[in-house]
Symmetry: C2
Subunit: 216 residues, 2 copies
């Protein structure tokens, strides 16, 4: 059985897993779940992932893994090189904390299903929805910029001079911000790290626009 990734080009949670797979040199089979067309609500996908979210990774043993951060920690535990977390507990906590500041405190609030609920159930205007989207990104990035810029543990990447789980979460979040043309000039540390990441083939090849299911 071959490893299989349920993916969607524009999902930033799936984008994280694509980066991790590339860094580990793994190339699973890909199945594309078109979120905007609600393919994630189809019975056959819900049977795989009851949350109806992407990504899902099916291992070569047929085990079904959900939640991008759990998948990436699994990949790191089963394919240790190159490591995506530092070795010692304190720096590991730092990297996980930076990753979670994106994965818990920015991304879920701006997720497609939340924006749809805002528009269709709460009934907000398109501009209010857009302001919401940008507001939560700015709140999150401001704190991250402060945290990263003042800490000597920050290097070429979020933690030292090799990419970690923190960079894997940061880059897709910045891509979302760029897609809606946000001003990223208040975040010079974040954009410097983003550039260092994009220079690596593993990050570049994971970009939404370079996926087989990409749309304009």
């Amino acid at each position: 059985m071959v490893m299989k990734l349920y993916d969607y080009f524009r999902s930033s949670a799936a984008y994280r897993v694509r980066i991790a797979l590339n860094l580990k040199g793994l190339a699973p089979e890909r199945v594309f779940i078109h979120l905007r067309k609600n393919a994630q609500r189809a019975a056959d996908y819900l049977a795989v992932n009851p949350q109806g979210l992407v990504p899902t990774l099916v291992t070569d043993d047929g085990a079904v893994l959900t939640q991008s951060l759990a998948i990436i920690e699994y990949l790191d535990e089963t394919h240790p090189a190159p490591p995506l977390l530092p070795a010692a507990p304190l720096p590991r906590a730092r990297v996980r904390s930076l990753a979670l500041a994106v994965a818990c405190d920015i991304h879920p609030i701006d997720n497609l299903r939340v924006l749809r609920y805002l528009l269709h159930t709460v009934g907000v205007a398109e501009e209010q929805k857009d302001a919401w989207y940008k507001y939560w990104i700015d709140v999150g990035l401001e704190a991250l910029e402060l945290q990263l810029s003042r800490d000597p543990a920050t290097g070429r990447f979020c933690h030292g001079d090799a990419p970690t789980l923190a960079d894997i979460c940061l880059v897709p979040q910045l891509a979302n911000a760029r897609r809606v043309k946000m001003d990223l000039s208040p975040y010079p540390t974040l954009t410097r790290i983003e550039a260092a990441c994009q220079a690596l083939p593993a990050f570049a090849a994971a970009e939404p626009s370079r996926q087989p299911d990409a749309e304009p």
Copy 2:
């Protein structure tokens, strides 16, 4: 230096860390950050945690750790008994995924700052805010109930017969649901696990109502 937890009785992220500390037999000094009075926006707290969120754990070495899941993984790595994650990569991924389904996909969308933005910036009515709160809990709990009820890996607790990170995230989320009197009868597996957790002193002692800063 003594370990110090910045805490708030009603924060479910802080509640998670309290449970983990109790399971590990650790009793840090406590500092209470009154979220409803905006103590998390005070300059002295922002100097500790630029995100202005609780919890924050300051270790006995003076290291500052943020993000509840990063803190709990740190506690588990530095105080291995009893373990809060299984030993093998696949079950570890399962437990982390269940934990993240709460910590990423329910809790942040219903966080106090998001509800405040809905009320004061979007300008929704109190009832719309309440419906929002319950909607995201139901969406998340439905998927969790399905995932846990159909998987033989579920035991007395979310994973087997000892509490893990998954239970540590589940119980505070159910407490939030109970506080707003949601009907939990569609979630028999979740409430059965909750009861098993509440029977443990480590969980019971972490309950919001039993904290020194608790309010009616």
